[in-house]
Each structure stands twice: as C-alpha cells, then as structure tokens.
Amino acid sequence: MANPDDNARTEKKYVRTFIFSMRTGTPVEKLHVITKVFMIVAFSILTLYMFDIPVSQGGPDIIGLFLMMALTFILLAISRTAKYLVTSYLVLSIPVLLAQFFWWLFFSESLPGAKMTFYLWPGFLPIGISTVVLVVTFVLVYLKTRSIFVSLTPALLLWWFTVMPSVLSYSPLATWFKFPLGGAYSFSLPQWSAYVGFAKALGYGVLIYTSFLFLLTTRDAEIGGALRQLRVSFRKAFFVMLMFRNLNTILLDYESIRMAQVARASTVIRSGILSRMKDLAYVSIPLVATMIRRSTEMGVALYARGFEASKGMTDYKETKRLSSIDYMIMGILVAFLIYEVILGHSITALFVR
C-alpha cells in the first residue's frame, strides 16, 4: 500500500522559488546551488572569451554560444519554468538584446582595412521605396492607434532602415529623386560586425537566462545551506537568504499595487510612454512604504525568535551533498572551459573548416 506521506508529496507538484515556482521531483530540483553558481561563472568566462576570438581564427564561437543557450533552456524546460520565462521576462529581454546587437553594429570600432558599408546620413534626402515604407507604416499604425507619436516612431525607424540599402545600392528603382541636404556622414561597418554583434547578443542572452534559471529554481534554504558549507557565518548567510527570499514578496506586492492603480483608471485612456513610466514610478511610493513596514516587523520577528542573542545555528535539512547530476554538469562545464579557454579551440571552427 502506498505511504500517505508519499502521496501528499506526489500531489504537491510545484514548489515556490525566488521568482515563480518549479516542478518538484525533477533533476533540476536536486541540483546543488553551487553547481548553478558555477554554471553562471563558467558561462560568463566562456561568453567573454568566445566574443574575442579573432576573425582570422574563425570569429566568435556561435555554435558554442548556442550550446550554452540550449543547456540553459533544457534545464529551464525540465524544471517547467521555461513557459513562465517566455511569457514574462523574455518579452523584456529581447528588446535589450536587440539594442545590444544594434549598439554593436553602429558603434563598434572598425577593423583595419574593413570595407565601409553603412551610412548614418547619406547627405541627401532620398525619395523612393523608403518613402513609400514611411507613409504606409505611418498610415497603418495611425489607423490602429490614432496616435501620431506611436505611428511616427516605427515609420521613421523602418524608413531609415530602408533608406540605407536603397542609397547604397544606387539603384534608380529604389531612389527616384535626391534632394541634396548637407554632407554625408558615414559609419564604417566591418564585414564581420553583424556576426560579432549577433554573437554578443546571444552571449548576453545566455548570461541573462542562466541568471533566471538560478532565480527560478532556487530556494532560500539552498542558499543558506551552501553558504554554511562554505563556512560563511550564520548571520551573513541568513541575510543573503532573506534578501533573495524578499524578491518573491516584492513581486507579489508589486502585483497588488499595480492592480490598485489599474482600478484607479490608469489604463482607461491610452497614454504615452512618459505617463506610463510616471505610473511605474508612483508604484514605488506604496512599495517602499510596504517594504519599510515589512522590514520593521521582520526585525521584531527575528528578535522574538532569538536571532539577536544566538551564538550559532544548527544546520537542519539545509545543506546537501553534490549529486551525480551536479558532477555531470560541472564536468561538462570544465571540459568546455578547457577546450575553449585553455586549449583555445572553437566549436564553430570545427564545422567551418
């Protein structure tokens, strides 16, 4: 007959983590926090190293970066947190990574002898396909939103992106008229820039999602236990633990405050980015007030449980040993580090050759 205690444990399918919840009983739940931290550190070293592989040696190790991204997402999928990441933070992280890509594209240093392929300003106002793109985008977005600002932003962006190829192509089909307007201002864009820019965005993506993996699959007891294993004093370990634990509380507080704001008609009239940012800033007033009240009461709770007078702390079901999965993942990471950093190889180069 099945043990009722086991049944209760099977029925409890999810367990709360620093942000959101993860599935119980998966190999990721068993991962030691040290492995997760080691993964972040190893990926950081690898990413930075992979960026800097010279073009002459095959350029950034794109396949290596993809492998790291894949490992992160496999672990996220096993812990059933990938869906949450996709529906919440992915939306925020993609614009950041795109910005990173374009930043690199426009403002990276040019390599000696690189061919200039990019204009910021061609020196004349071209009328052609780009103008059609501008007008059509503006009209379509305006019909949907009825906001000049909202329509103009994507229209101008698209216009600019279409101006450049049409100017560069010197095709009479793309540019019908030219109005001379001041001198040209150009950027030199090395041939490899787009490739390197993509690698950069991918690398930072790996770091962002690995950090999320850590926050989405870790609980306070694991951090506390690991710090105690590393001989950190119980007071310091506790405060690190409390800091991470409060992430969860702050997110919940934010949700209820934002709901109160929506109930006060903050979304009734479609407002501009500035007023939305203002609304976000207003959330900080009750959020900070709540945090101050909570921290005072937590101080009282700590005193009432004898934290102040305590000389030490018993370890109770907090520390855990490294398991075979930990050794396996750390083994892969070490092998990766040796292959890429010490031996100076690149996985991409293997395929390119």
């Binding site: 367990v15 405050i257 709901m259 109930a263 109770y316």
Partner: protein, 601 residues
C-alpha cells in the same frame, strides 16, 4: 505567581525629525499571573502594539532611545518572571568612574516569551513551512533530532499535522489566512515559551477561522501551562476566554480588572469607542442582567430574558427588494482558474440591480475577491458571461473602461496610496480620466468633505492615521463617481468608531444611488447594514437572497462555514423555545423588540 509586573511604565518613541513625540504609553500599572488569559482592548492608536513590544523587551532594547535621554523616554519598571525586563538606572562605569543613566534589564526574552503580530506574512522569515517552524530552534542550537520532534509536535498542536509530510515544500504564503496564523503560532510553540503575546492574531480571518485559532490558543495554554496576553478587538473572544482585561486609550489604562468588571462599564465602552459584543450591547440597551451584571453569552442572555417571562415584538418588516431597477451586474455560468491551475470560481450566477447594497460573504478562499476582481475588470481570463451596466466584460475594449463605472476599494490602504499629498491622491484617478482641472478641484473637495478629510487636503497621506488612510482610499474612488462600489473588508483593523464612520458613509452613498458590494468577514456588519447577501462557498454561489433568510437557516450557515453574529445566535436559541418568533439579526432589532415588550407591559 506573577509572570509580568508593570509598574508606572511610560514610553515615548524617539523622534528623528521635527518635534518630540508624545508618550505612547502613560503610567501603566498591571500584573499578569501564571496561567492567565489576559486581554488588552482599546481603540486604534491606544498604544496596544507598543505595549506588546514593551512586554517582550523589544521596547526599549530594539527600538532604542537617544543617549542621555533614557529617563525622559522610559519611566517606571517592567518585571518579567521576577527579573527586571526594563528599568532606567544610574550605572557607574568601572573604568572611568563616571555615572550615567542606562536602560537595564533582560536584553533577550526569547525563547521564554513569544510575540505574534497581526499580519503573520510579515513575520515569516523562510520560504518553507518546515524551516519557518524550525528557525527559532536552529537559533537555540537544538540538536537536529530534537528540532524534528518539536516541529512535528508543534504542527500537530495547532492542527496543521497533515502538512508535516510536505512541510519542506509548502511556502508559508500558500497557506490560507487561518493556517498562516496557526503556522506562526506553531513557530513559537516549538520554542516552548512560558508567555505568549498575541497582537490582534485574528483580525484577517473569517469567523470560523477566528474560532479555530482561539480554540487552538486556549488548548495550548492548558496543555503547556502557558500564560497568554492577547490584544483583540473581538469582544466575544475576550469575554469567553480572558480572565483579566486591560482597556486602554491614548496610552493610558482606562479600566483594569476581571472581564466581568471591565465589561460591566457600558459608559466606558461608549466614550472610548470600544467594541462590545451584540449580547452585551443588547443587555446594556434593554437593561437585562444576568447575576447582577450584563450578560456575556447567548445562554446567559437567554436566562436573563427567560427569568422575566415576558413576550416580545413578534413582527418584523423587511424592505422590499428593488425588483424593477435595472440590472447593473449580471454574472452567468462564470468559471475562473488561476495560472497555476487552481479553479477559483465554478458556475457562478447572480444579478445585482441598481441601488442595491449587497454583502458578499464566505470563508477565506471561497472566491469572493476573485469574483469582485472579475467584475472590476482586473481578472480577464474567465469563462462564461459577465456584464456590468450591460457592457460585456469579455470585450477587451470594454474592460479598459470599467474603472469609470466600478470603483474597487482594496483591503490594504498602504497598497493603494500613490501620492505624497492628499489632494493629488484623490485627483490621481480623475487625471487618468483626463477630466478638466476645474472639475477635478471640485470633485476632490466634495469627496474629501464627505469622508471628513477636507482639512487635511495638503497633508502627506503617509502621516495619516489608520482610519484616515482607509477613508482617503474611499474618497479616491468616490471622486471618480462610480456607479458600483466594491469595498473589500471595509472595517478590518479599524476600531468601533472608525468602522461605524465607514459604514455610515457607505450607507449614505447607497442612499444617493451608488450600488454597493461589500466583501466582509464581519457578520455583525452584514447583519446591520445589508439587506441581501451572496454567500460564496468553494467557488460557487451557495445562497443569494435576503440577509435575514440566510441567518435564519442554520443548515446553510453550517454548510457555508459561517458563524453568525451573537444577535442571530440568540435568535436561534430563542426560536427553539418560541418557534413563532421572527429571526432578529442585529442588536438594533433585538433592542426594538425588547423595548417594545417593556412599552406593552
């Protein structure tokens, strides 16, 4: 043997900005004996929480005072277990030989004393129940086996034994309101304290949750020979369990003695805005007495009444429901599930007409807040039909406009005040609606006037009192002229007078045409103010009809897990002996019926 002795104790908090603070505790003298169930009562701002801090040594050992001003901030003495807990003494430094005033006494009262605050969520320190219970024991450096044994035992004592197998997987915030309080109590029980101080431990719970907590506390007191000090607004709890009571106002003791002695002073309760139970209020207002004092319980009241052997008013008329008014809220077969798959609403159906004042009741987790959030457009992914003023809430464009028609006053005022000036706070919603400035000024003034806060128009809401903050949140919604107002627990944490003010305000609004939906656990409030109740139970509507009809039906009350107010319980007891009697549901009706009897006599 006395556990606590407070002798002429005064305390004032240090001021970090501006003028000095006034004394929060003034000349308090009382004694708590071993095994006592000691009740502390008083209106908001009376100094009850500060007193709890002082009794556990947090004041002045954590909230300290400026150097050299010890005697100004702390006067008198508190003794705990026969030793000085707090006292200011002139102490001579062994090295320098200089004498200076110092606060002396026990720096740490844990684990012999436990302190449980009003909101257990703010006291939770860990992310799982197991470590929440074990935390104090880990601090005491008890061996692992002892921690395990005591943690399991503590959970069983508070009735959470079934959670033991998954205690390491359950986050304390996943527990229901009552379970959270039990878990917080268990975390102290495991430390085997001798004195447990509880500051309004039941204020966020439904009536049944309250009862189970207080029963658990009382059984623990007997089992472990504990002394209990409890701050509580609920007079029924104090009258039933406490043997001694201290009543406070403005930091001072206004009454101190046995429960019978304190609750016999009706004038004291009226003058200081203290809560008294329905039975006590009926006793005071009808002059009925039991063994020479006002009755405390239903049985005592029945005995007091039966001894007079007289008849009472047998007729009572209810206002007819506004049947012809337009349907303002219409919910049909509505289902709702949260992201984690928890189904919160199942096949909910009801209609609310314009101008109604409806009480939405049910146990914690019954679905009251969820359905209210659907009505106010905050929860969108529901199945079924929901219409407000004829507008379909499945239409995303309609949902955006809902705050113009439905005002939602949330439970916690601190989570809904966004501005640093009272004027701006009320104007916030109006500015979002792009209303002309002149009209904003006018509406803000009117709203603040109706809640009695006009004089504070330029003040920072952060510095308003608890009741004032609550009224400000009502004004902020009021200014938006909603057709429907949803008020979530309007009286939680408020003293008697504040609650009355808020309820009078809602009644006035209702009379002027606003439809009101009040979510509450306060059954006395429901019985006194609402004509209709919608009772939610496990995500569905269990009953929808007259308030009297619901309270009269003992079977329904049992299924809904709702403990009716004392006035209703008195009716039930009375009706068993006099089946033809109507079910009087509040103090006012009982007093009218009883005084009618005297008039007839």
């Amino acid at each position: 043997m006395s556990v606590l002795e407070v002798n002429g104790f005064w305390w004032k908090y240090r001021s970090y900005v501006g003028a000095e603070n006034p004394y929060t505790l003034r000349d308090l003298t009382f004694k708590v004996n071993k095994g006592d169930f000691f009740g502390i009562i008083g209106p908001s701002g009376a100094g009850k929480t500060t007193l709890c801090y002082a009794l556990t040594g947090i004041i002045p050992h954590v909230f300290n005072v400026p150097y050299g001003k010890e005697r100004e901030h702390v006067k008198g003495e508190i003794k705990l277990f026969g030793q000085t807990l707090t006292k200011v003494e002139a102490v001579t430094d062994g090295k320098t030989g200089k004498t200076a005033d110092k606060i002396v006494g026990m720096k740490q009262t844990a684990p012999r004393v436990g302190l449980l605050l009003q909101d257990p969520e703010n006291q939770f320190l860990r992310m799982d129940l197991l470590h929440e219970i074990s935390f104090g024991m880990q601090m005491l450096q008890l061996p692992e086996s002892e921690i395990e044994k005591r943690a399991k035992e503590a959970l069983e004592v508070v009735g959470l034994g079934s959670l033991w197998p998954i205690a390491d997987l359950v986050h304390p915030n996943e527990l229901s309101g009552g379970q959270k309080q039990r878990a917080a109590i268990a975390s102290f029980i495991a430390l085997r304290p001798e004195l447990l101080v509880l500051d309004e431990p039941m204020s966020n719970l439904d009536p049944e949750g309250k009862l189970s907590i207080i029963k658990a506390i009382d059984s623990i007191r007997n089992q472990y020979d504990l002394t209990i000090i409890v701050v509580e607004h609920n007079p029924e709890v104090i009258q039933k369990y406490a043997n001694k009571v201290l009543a406070m106002n403005n930091g001072q003791a206004i009454a101190y003695g046995t429960t019978e002695e304190v609750y016999s002073q009706s004038k004291l309760f009226e003058e200081n805005g203290l809560y008294a139970s329905d039975i006590t209020r009926i006793g005071w207002q009808s002059g009925l007495s039991y063994q020479g004092r006002v009755p405390f319980t239903v049985d005592e009241m029945l005995e007091a009444f039966e001894s007079k052997k007289e008849t009472i008013l047998t007729d009572i008329e209810d206002d007819p429901p506004p049947e012809n008014a337009e349907e303002i809220i219409s919910i049909k077969n509505l289902d709702f599930s949260y992201e984690d798959g928890t189904q919160a609403l199942k096949g909910v159906n009801f209609t609310i007409r314009k101008g109604e004042y409806v009480g939405l009741i049910g146990q914690n987790g019954a679905g009251k807040s969820t359905i209210s959030k659907v009505i106010s457009g905050l929860y969108k992914n529901f199945q079924g039909e929901a219409k407000v003023m004829g507008l379909n809430l499945r239409d995303r464009k309609v949902i955006q406009k809902i705050p113009c028609y439905v005002g939602y006053v949330f439970q916690n005022p601190d989570n809904q005040i966004f501005m640093r000036k009272v004027y701006d706070e009320v104007a916030y919603g109006l500015k979002n609606l792009k209303i002309p400035q002149q009209e904003i000024d006018q509406r803000v003034n009117e709203a603040l006037k109706s809640v009695g806060l006009l004089a504070k128009i330029n003040e920072d809401p952060m510095f308003l009192g608890k009741g004032e903050k609550r009224r400000l949140t009502v004004a902020s919604i009021l200014a938006m002229n909603p057709k429907i107002m949803i008020v979530d627990e309007p009286t939680t944490g408020q003293d008697f007078r504040m609650s009355e003010d808020i309820m009078d305000l809602l009644e006035e609004l209702n009379k002027s045409g606003t439809t009101i939906l009040a979510i509450t656990h306060d059954m006395t409030l429901v019985s006194e103010h609402t004509k209709r109740v919608i009772v939610m139970h496990e995500g569905s509507v269990l009953y929808d009809g007259s308030t009297r009809g619901f309270f009269a039906d003992e079977v329904l009350l049992e299924i809904a897990g709702i403990i009716p107010p004392m006035a209703v319980r008195f009716s039930h007891a009375y009706m068993k002996k006099h089946p033809s009697s109507p079910c009087f549901i509040n103090t006012k009706e009982w007093v009218t019926a009883l005084n009618h009897q005297e008039e007839t006599a």
